[in-house]
């Protein structure tokens, strides 16, 4: 018998952090892509991670819900120490929602089914309950009228909003976003960011990999800059944008910020 996973482990401070990453190192074969990364996300905190392409941002957040494995260090989600045990991974994935750059909606299911199916399979809701909850969240992302369409019939922005609704409908404790607007046409970026801002205002804990510095300024509590598998700098947005400490951060900001 596999022992039941510890669902909640209070830390010394009281309530556990939403995500606690300690000295995380990861290799792809011989290539090391994360170097002893430490990251602490409090409940209700909004984190933006930025950094040049290939710096390990995706890899880092994908280790949190075990889409990627890791070799050294420790990850705790809501106090649960992430291992490779099925029950533990299940428990962690229930607490973590994820939105991908490429939306990854299920093309064979309607928009409504995309949101309702996981609710039935994972949250064990009845068909009617799942439907109601799915509609509730589709309304929140402002596309209830598209519920019976298939993903291929929607614009990129609409698809990404469905993907957000699908993840949030599972009522996770943390939401991870991996460049949610990078695959969108410019005119659709705003509708997706608006939904994310709304989510932040409701107090959702969010870790967002993005180059949308306006979004970072508006909602982030902290901005993390990563380069070559390391967290180089982290600061509140105001300080991060006006007084970057390292040369690499300055060089990066010069490229992504409008002049």
């Amino acid at each position: 018998m596999i022992p039941a996973p510890q669902i909640s482990v209070p830390t010394a401070a009281g309530t556990p952090a939403a995500v606690e990453i300690t000295k995380l190192s990861k290799w792809y074969g011989a290539l090391q892509v994360l170097f002893e990364v430490d990251l602490h996300v409090d409940k209700g905190e909004r984190l933006v991670i930025c950094g040049p392409s290939g710096s390990g941002k995706s890899t880092l957040i994908r280790t949190v819900n075990a889409l990627e494995g890791f070799q050294r260090g420790e990850i705790r989600v809501g106090g649960v120490k992430l291992t490779r045990e099925p029950a533990v991974v299940d428990a962690v994935r229930r607490r973590v929602g994820m939105v991908f750059q490429q939306f990854n909606l299920f093309p064979h299911l309607t928009v409504l089914e995309n949101c309702a199916l996981p609710l039935r399979l994972v949250r064990k809701l009845t068909a009617a309950e799942a439907r109601d909850r799915a509609m509730h969240y589709l309304t929140k992302v402002r596309i209830p009228e598209q519920a019976d369409k298939f993903p291929a019939q929607l614009s990129g922005g609409q698809q990404q909003r469905v993907a957000i609704a699908r993840a949030v409908a599972m009522q996770p404790e943390v939401m991870l976003f991996d460049e949610p607007t990078s695959a969108l046409d410019p005119e659709m970026v705003k509708e997706v960011l608006d939904v994310m801002v709304g989510l932040a205002e409701e107090g959702m804990t969010m870790v967002v990999v993005t180059h949308e510095m306006g979004f970072a300024r508006q909602v982030a509590d902290r901005v993390i800059f990563m380069d070559q598998g390391r967290v180089v700098e982290q600061a509140p947005p105001e300080a991060f944008f006006t007084r970057p400490q390292s040369d690499r951060t300055r060089a990066f900001l010069n490229q992504v910020l409008p002049h």
Binding site: M98, P118, A163
Partner: protein, 323 residues
Amino acid sequence: MHYHDNVDYPPLLTRPIVFGPLLVGLFAVLWWFDAANSAIGRLVAGIIPAGTTPGMHGLLTALAVTLFAAFNIFVVLRLPLRQQVWLVWGELAAVILLFFYSFDLSFAFIQRKIGFLLTQGLVTTLYISAVSITLATILALLGAIAKLSSNGIAQGIAHFYTSLFRGLPLLMQIYMIYLGLPQLGYVVDAVPTGIAALSLCYGAYMTEIFRAGIESIPKGQWEAARALGLRPTAVMGRIILPQSMRVIIPPTGNQFISMLKDSSLVSVVGVWELMYLARTQGQTEFRHVEMMITASLIYWLLSIVLELIQKRIETHFNKAVTR
């Protein structure tokens, strides 16, 4: 072509460079192979004036048939696309039936035997095929999942299974089960032998089809399903397999049609299925051709039914993309 361009290229058959040589070729073939003295010649014999020399008669026959073909193309090209397809299909089917008809068949004999051919032969063929199709599908699913699993034993078994059963002639498999297993002390009846051999052989081919279908689904689909907390069986059964069906169904339909006809190989161990009866019933009265043609047409009709079923299922699994 699949995605239509918005250019009206003239149809091939309206271009003189195509239809000219085509008609000349047709005329030459008809004339050279002396169509006048064949079943084709008899069809147009009525319109050739009497009293022409044999040489002239041959030329006129070839000319008449060629003109008829040209006229036919001319008419067909003026129809809407769907009607073109059906008309051409029907014409070709008529030609085939005419070909069969030209054998001077005894329809009385066919009438006498067809009842038995259907109640015994067709029923057995259908029974063997239906059971084998079901078992082969299950084997293929298990084989594909085993090949893609991280379980070394399962992978080893699956690789060996596809290698062996795709590698041995089906006929040999039937003999080995029927004649070989009794050596080990297991006597297998003829019908179960047939079902076992067909299921194992086609399961092996279809394992590869299923594997390719599953592999055609992008990684992001797996990741999204896992990130939502779906368990492995749900990921496979609710997300991956339903999407792979689009890729799996066309070649699987092929396999089913092929299996339907390969079920005739089971006749070698004395199963009274369609092929066996066609052979034996014809023998008694030296009416082989009648029985062979009747059985052929039954196989063909069954294949058409499978084709139609395949089409329906394809439409079902395509609806998310086409609607």
